[in-house]
């Protein structure tokens, strides 16, 4: 019995301390219990004690239930308010767009700068924010950095200044080239931002991965030459090949680009001209390159097609980068054809005086307007100017004409009986373009009666016959149809006998080109002859040549 009571008392102690708020009360009860051991009141008081105890415990149970309910509701509220903003995009980061990125080159370092924004429109503060930024290009990582932000309060849009850098020495030559000039397919730089963050007490953890693509078009996006608008003309300080161009540069960097240009012959590497232009970065402009052509190269550009190279050396004012570029262009000469048909040249006496006629043909490409052509004809050593002609020729069409060089008698005789080198000095002015240039042509003139010799002209009084022998070489490129008129004159210049010989009656007087001709003529005379006059006429060209020879009496 006593043991049972003691055990009960110990149990009471244990039960008493289940509630700290009634500990003292229970202790007193325990003391009372000890006092009341063996007394029936003990049981009654114990009964009271448990009643009271239970009365305190029940509310606590209820309280615990309430706490549990409230806790559950709180978890639901926290879950919804934590997850919903993320699901609806109220928590996000903004990466700088292509227009917001600033590029700089300082020394050997390329900087990428911009502003990132961490937007927290959720209900709680974002903590322990870590943003890993990586920029990919050329199939590798160009820039990377780690940014730590302690916290972003609720309803706050926090700006983070982004500065990434990379060494230009890490770029290959090809990559630098593409950085400056871009690529035909454009270079895509991929900016990847990985953000990790959490709510207080790590209730919710966030991992956001943003990726954006920035197009890099190159510092010099475009440099196009308008080859179809190329001009060859006179400008204020000379004759120039003018080539319009369009250049578009990006404003990634500041300053300007200096382009040194050279115009070269692809085959011979000869440099015709050079020029320089300064292009501010960030502009789109159309302008014209003027390559001044030296006087002695103008003829080459007028008459000859050629393959040209436009070599560019590009440098930048604000940073140390230099590049070379080459563009090829086929130059089509404005004068496609200029032919002087020397083989068809001839001296004619059909008109007043003698004239050397020189047919020609000219065809120009894409030129309009007129050209003035002045040609002077010189002897071989240019000591004698025989004649000149000036003509105005329409351009842009296939034109055939004939140059005419009036000759005096002496010159006419010279041209008929003496083959020689002729020099044609040609001055051409393209009137609309204002371009003037000079060219020279040399031609071997074959005289139709080259080395004409009239020999053994004599008169036999017994037979009363005059006889003479003549020979020449037809050095001209065409056949001669000779009509020869021989007049025998007396001392008083009276005609005492005549003879006409024609190719119509005797085909031997048709003399082929380069043929040597020899003939002996006998004429009966009644009177005393003094001299003979031989007149050669070429029916093909109208050439007429007269010579007097004395007749010796045998």
């Amino acid at each position: 019995m006593l043991f049972a009571k003691m055990l009960t008392a110990v149990t009471d102690i244990g039960h008493c301390f289940t509630s700290t708020s009634t500990a003292v009360h229970n202790l007193l009860n325990f003391v009372s219990n000890i006092k009341l051991w063996g007394m029936h009141e003990y049981w009654y008081i114990r009964f009271i004690f448990y009643q009271l105890n239970c009365k305190f415990m029940k509310p606590k149970l209820v309280g615990l239930q309430v706490i549990l309910t409230i806790f559950t509701i709180a978890i639901i509220i926290i879950s919804v308010t934590s997850i919903l903003p993320a699901m609806t995009g109220d928590i996000n980061i903004e990466i700088p767009s292509e227009d917001e990125i600033r590029w700089d080159i300082e020394g050997d370092t390329l900087y990428l700068r911009g502003d990132m924004w961490v937007n927290n429109s959720g209900y709680y503060t974002l903590e322990n924010i870590n943003i890993a930024v990586e920029v990919l290009g050329f199939n590798r990582t160009l820039f990377e950095d780690n940014i730590k932000v302690p916290a972003v309060e609720r309803e706050e849009n926090k700006k983070i200044e982004l500065q990434l850098q990379t060494n230009l020495d890490d770029f290959s030559e090809t990559e630098l080239q593409e950085l400056v000039f871009g690529d035909e397919n454009n270079i895509d730089l991929v900016i990847i931002s990985d953000m990790t963050a959490n709510y207080p007490f790590s209730i919710i953890g966030f991992y956001l991965d943003y990726e954006s693509v920035v197009e890099w078009n190159g510092l010099i996006k475009k440099m196009d030459y308008h080859e179809d608008e190329i001009e060859f003309h006179e400008i204020s300080y000379g004759t120039a090949v003018s080539l319009p161009y369009t250049v578009e540069t990006s404003d990634y960097l500041s300053g300007y680009s200096t382009v040194n240009l050279r115009l070269l012959n692809e085959e011979s590497d000869e440099e015709y001209s050079s020029t320089q232009i300064d292009i501010p970065l960030g502009v789109h402009e159309t302008n014209t390159l003027d390559f001044l052509i030296e006087d002695d190269s103008i003829e080459d550009f007028v008459f000859n097609d050629k393959d040209l190279i436009i070599h560019s050396q590009i440098t930048f004012s604000d940073f140390d980068l230099e590049f070379d570029d080459e563009q090829r262009y086929t130059w089509h000469a404005p004068v496609e054809e200029l032919n002087l048909f020397y083989d068809n040249a001839y001296v004619s006496s059909k008109y007043v005086g003698s004239t050397l006629f020189l047919p020609y043909q000219v065809h120009t490409r894409d030129l309009t307007g007129q050209a003035e052509v002045e040609i002077t004809m010189w002897n071989e050593d240019e000591s004698i100017m025989y004649s000149s002609d000036r003509q105005t020729i329409p351009l842009g069409i296939d034109y055939h004409g004939e140059l005419s060089f009036p000759l005096d008698d002496i010159d006419t005789h010279e041209f008929i009986i003496n083959s020689q080198e002729l020099i044609f000095n040609i001055d051409i002015t393209l009137i609309d373009k204002g371009i003037q240039f000079n060219t020279e042509e040399t031609y071997y003139w074959g005289a139709p009666l080259n080395e004409l010799e009239i020999d053994y002209v004599s008169y036999d009084p017994i037979t009363r016959e005059a006889e003479g022998k003549y020979s020449f070489i037809n050095d001209s490129p065409r056949e001669l149809k000779i009509e020869l008129q021989i007049d025998i004159m007396d001392e008083n210049k009276n005609t005492i006998a005549s003879e006409s010989l024609s190719y119509l009656e005797d085909p031997k007087y048709i003399i082929e080109s380069n043929e040597e001709f020899e003939d002996t003529i006998t004429i009966e005379i009644d009177d005393e002859p003094a001299y003979a006059v031989l007149t050669y006429i070429d029916q093909n060209t109208g050439m007429e040549y007269e010579r007097e020879v004395d007749i010796d009496e045998l």
């Binding site: 289940t18 448990y50 239970c54 806790f71 978890i75 699901m87």
Partner: protein, 159 residues
């Protein structure tokens, strides 16, 4: 004071079982399937959630039902109350853990980890388990008090 240690509540057990099945199995299944049908883009969020809710929700509902079958102060109520609390913990850990809170947009992806929420639910379930222990001790004293009262009555009668 209510004393119901030896009382059983079959109707209450059935009601709690049905309610638990509806709440922890049926509702989850319905919501997940509705979302997957209406918004296919986020179907991946609840990939196996419904299955886990069924696998763990059924025993959970049964243990809740059994717990409420017994009266307060009953040892069986304590035991099944603790078991249901453990299953509750398992339920929330597995079902919440199966939710793939991630979203992929045109140029972004994000993923949420809800470890903190899971920890809070575990704490809540643990409190629930402690509640049953406290309830058992409370109503067991009540039982003993009733026993004391009977003995006291006997003593009074004896004396």
């Amino acid at each position: 004071m209510n004393y119901d240690k030896n009382k059983i509540h079959p109707l209450k057990a059935v009601l709690f079982t049905i309610f638990s099945l509806i709440l922890f199995v049926g509702l989850i299944w319905f919501v997940v399937n509705m979302i997957s049908t209406e918004i296919p883009e986020i179907e991946h969020v609840f990939q196996n959630t419904a299955i886990y809710a069924v696998i763990l929700g059924i025993p959970l509902a049964i243990t809740i039902g059994i717990t409420n079958y017994f009266g307060k102060g009953d040892k069986n109520r304590l035991v099944f109350g603790l078991i249901s609390s453990v299953i509750f913990i398992l339920y929330f850990v597995v079902v919440l853990g199966s939710i793939n809170l991630g979203f992929e947009g045109e140029d972004f992806t994000y993923t949420l980890t809800i470890t903190g929420i899971i920890v809070l639910t575990v704490i809540a379930c643990s409190i629930r388990g402690a509640f049953f222990a406290l309830e058992f001790y409370t109503y067991q004293k009540d039982t003993k008090t009733k026993g004391v009262q009977k003995e006291e009555q006997k003593e009074v009668e004896y004396y």
